[in-house]
Symmetry: C2
DNA sequence: CTGCATCCCAAAGGATACTG
DNA sequence: CAGTATCCTTTGGGATGCAG
């Protein structure tokens, strides 16, 4: 699982530095909204701001703006402004974003396959906490 | 990518309900600390509270407690209390947690392979924002 | 009318002190 | 050692304003 073992860059003593960088990137990318936006764009190609928000569901305009800006900065999506009236802005996934989406695919599959198991675990946990002592 | 297409449960009109459930689960699981904790436990087997915090790195006790509780509730880890003095609590990944870790493996690989590309994209974005106009 | 910035408040998160 | 409780700071969400 770890990144330590397969260092692909030029050799040196920067193993821990690379590890740190990758961890930061994971922290950035392993974000609820980022993943949901990425998935929406991967499914529907290009979307306008409002429509994208609808597809994601339950996200505020503020967070959508922030998330999408971050993703644009990271090179995961492109933002195209059409200077027309009424204004039109389209967000589109990039090849890099597509590769991340593909990498994250396994997690989607995991969620669809194990969500019942998770819910059972929760029920059990809540039940045990309610009455019994645990330890 | 989507879950819509391969519904594995009994047929019915509950596609959107399942979709919602899976999305909620993704929102829960696609969390920075959850993934980092999961990875630490996957690499090192069983860890005590403090040691786990050290392995994760940069996490506060409060968030570690919260994250680990959540994960225990979701059935991703087990929490074993040894009634000794000083107290000893060990956290261990479950088979379910292991499966999630494996599913998330692709994202780790993506991060290690593309972090340079992301950084280049950021530099370019910041550079463009500094001086030029974008649209 | 669309897209975003701003304001304000609620909630999440970090640091510290304290208990079993 | 492993938390819980208590601050206080930061972040996120809803509503509103405003430019194109």
């Amino acid at each position: 699982m770890s990144v330590k073992m397969r260092d692909q860059g030029p050799p040196g003593g920067n193993d821990s530095r690379l590890e740190t960088l990758v961890r930061e990137l994971i922290g950035r990318v392993a974000d609820k909204w980022t993943m949901l936006v990425l998935d929406s764009l991967e499914e529907h190609g290009a979307l306008r701001f409002t429509r994208l928000g609808e597809m994601v569901g339950g996200i505020s305009q503020k967070m959508l703006t922030k998330t999408v800006r971050q993703m644009e900065r990271d090179g995961l999506v492109t933002r195209t402004v059409y200077p027309v009236i009424p204004p039109k802005v389209e967000y589109k996934i990039t090849p890099l974003g597509l590769s991340l989406s593909a990498a994250f695919c396994g997690v989607w599959e995991w969620a669809s396959q194990h969500h019942e198991e998770v819910e059972r675990a929760r029920k059990k946990f809540d039940h045990a906490s309610t009455k019994g002592r645990r330890s």
